[in-house]
Amino acid sequence: MSHRVGVVRFPGTNCEFDTIDAIRALGGDAEVLWHGDPSLKNVDAVVIPGGFAHGDYLRCGAIARFSPVMESVAAFALNGGPVLGICNGFQVLTEAGLLPGALQKNIGMKFLCSMQQIEVVSTGNVLGKGSTVGDCIKIPINHFEGNYVCPPEALAELEARQQIVFRYTDNPNGSTRDIAGICNESGNVVGMMPHPERATSLLLGSTDGTALIRSFLAA
């Protein structure tokens, strides 16, 4: 059980407290990990939350990859540690090479902020324990660069190895094959554009994120 979750804060991160609140509300413990400190403080799992790490200059996540904490996150991930990248965190994980592909500007050049229905495509990952393939859940999105792209051969591998975790049922951003979230081959690293931490209370319009976060805490 991942009792203690480290939530990484870069300059420009803005979803760390939402993420920490959601984890605590579900019985986990969470603390901020400052990007400039390479120590992961012996946490059991790591979340890279949403925001605009290092201002998203050059490309989203491009500069965050060089923060001292990221070398430790990469080693933790390669060692099988649970890592979840949400929104900007997903972008950081692709730039860091922990997940394949890239996220570019939405088709139509619109910043999207809406509740979105996504389908659970695979469950062999750290978010999948409380879900069934084919479940349709409501999780909000909030991004300008969520249009997932990857070379055809990488896409074929993702599909063959069941690394596509979520697909939009109504693609809002032009993402390749409606991809909303993917995982690495062993399933311990997941990146997703929708924000599960913002779907943990009826007041927020959905509680569908709780199953995902509970699964992550149990990983």
């Binding site: 139509g108 050049m109 792209v149 070379p151």
Partner: protein
């Protein structure tokens, strides 16, 4: 030696370019119906110290591969301009 370098970053062929598509759809409104295949990238200019123009070229290409571009979606054209 001191070199000025220009790096042209462009979206890779086959990768959709939402900025270009949006501009392409807007141009006919101004009467430019004859335009097509608009692609938007960016230009980075920097100065670099290197022993030769070739050394400057390979130094900057290394920067592009490791940081300045994302090879999944972007191509880079490095041009060493002047000393």
């Amino acid at each position: 030696m001191h070199f000025e370098v220009k790096i042209e970053v462009s979206p890779r062929d086959g990768i959709a370019n939402p900025e270009g598509s949006t501009i392409e759809r807007a141009l006919p409104a101004l009467g430019f119906e004859m335009t097509g295949n608009v692609r938007v990238g960016k230009v980075i200019r920097l100065q670099v110290e290197a022993e030769s123009a070739d050394a400057a070229q390979s130094l900057v290409e290394d920067m592009c591969n490791r940081f300045l571009t994302n090879p999944v979606i972007e191509d880079a054209l490095v041009e060493v301009l002047a000393t």
